[in-house]
């Protein structure tokens, strides 16, 4: 287990010195600030673009709008920013040959896979939590209503979805022929799952539910139990994906 820590330490140092932590932190701070801001100014923007002559009742923004912007930003942009940053985390090491020496020294291959998975997932959680805390603060201050009683409940599935998404990236990056394949593989898988969601019967099982039902969970109109099949399946698929990655990586020529 000590070896796991040594390689994890190297991965963390890499994330810091390659500026990944800094970029991720700053970008997700922007998402955190922007979400309540857009919710707040959207009526004003609509007003000025349609003109005040047009009498439409634009309702006052509420905390729900703020959280809606948050989940939109994170699930439609944030996770792909992370995907791009993590995309080469395995393929780059393999193509540069930096692992050969360490593996020759006795670093077990599965440790490489697990450490990379762990550090990428910690960054995912850190990024989303950072944005969440910021949005939460602004939302509580600017929209002190009781329309979003369960802000944390919406976050749980997203954090679990991160396990699955990180595992997809890792498998893609391990299969990769270039540094962008990890990103394409993960993004492609999500698109495929989104298409699959058109069949109503699979919706409760689809991992994608973990990033589409968040707002309803926040509002309290849906219970976490409703998507528990998807939660279970997501966890199961994560284990399968990571195991598969370890097997493939064990056979990979370095």
């Amino acid at each position: 287990m000590k070896v796991m820590w040594y390689f994890t330490h190297k991965e963390i140092l890499e994330a810091w010195r390659k500026h990944h932590l800094l970029i991720i932190g700053l970008i997700f701070m922007i998402f955190g600030i922007e979400s309540p801001l857009i919710a707040k100014i959207l009526p004003d923007i609509l007003h000025s673009s349609f003109g005040s002559n047009l009498v439409i009742n634009i309702p006052q923004p509420t905390s729900v709008d703020s959280w809606q912007q948050f989940y939109k930003n994170i699930t439609q942009m944030g996770i792909y920013v992370l995907a791009i940053i993590f995309s080469g985390f395995m393929s780059q090491e393999v193509s540069q040959g930096t692992l050969v020496n360490l593996i020759a020294k006795g670093l077990p291959r599965f440790i490489v896979v697990l450490a990379k998975f762990l550090v990428a997932y910690l960054q995912w959680c850190g990024a989303i939590l950072l944005a969440f805390v910021i949005t939460w603060g602004y939302t509580a201050y600017y929209f002190p209503d009781n329309k979003s009683p369960q802000p944390l409940l919406g976050l749980v599935p997203l954090l679990i979805f991160g396990l699955f998404f990180t595992a997809l990236l890792l498998l893609g990056s391990t299969l990769a022929v270039n540094n962008y394949f990890g990103f394409l593989f993960a993004a492609g898988s999500i698109i495929a799952l989104t298409i699959l969601n058109m069949w109503k019967s699979v919706q409760r099982w689809n991992p994608v539910a973990l990033m589409t039902d968040n707002l309803r969970l926040v509002q309290g109109t849906e219970k976490l139990a409703h998507i528990s099949p998807a939660l279970m399946l997501t966890l199961g698929l994560t284990i399968v994906l990571v195991t598969l990655t370890i097997i493939i990586f064990n056979h990979k020529r370095l």
Binding site: L22, I23, L26, I27, I30, D44, I84, I85, Y138
Partner: protein
Amino acid sequence: MTDANFFFDNLPFFIPLIIVELVLMITAIVHIFRHQHYQHGNRWLWLLAVMFIQPFGAIAYFVFGRELE
């Protein structure tokens, strides 16, 4: 509502937002000037991208532009 009013009304949002974007931009610009070689593109392309496409120019630089070490 004037633009200035709009800006000052939302100052608690804009001040941190501007600071964050400035930090991101300056970090990227310093990095660009400290390196001679880039994975893709050249110095001027990245400087323009970082300064004018915020915040994605800086992300793009750190992912696709920065030299592999």
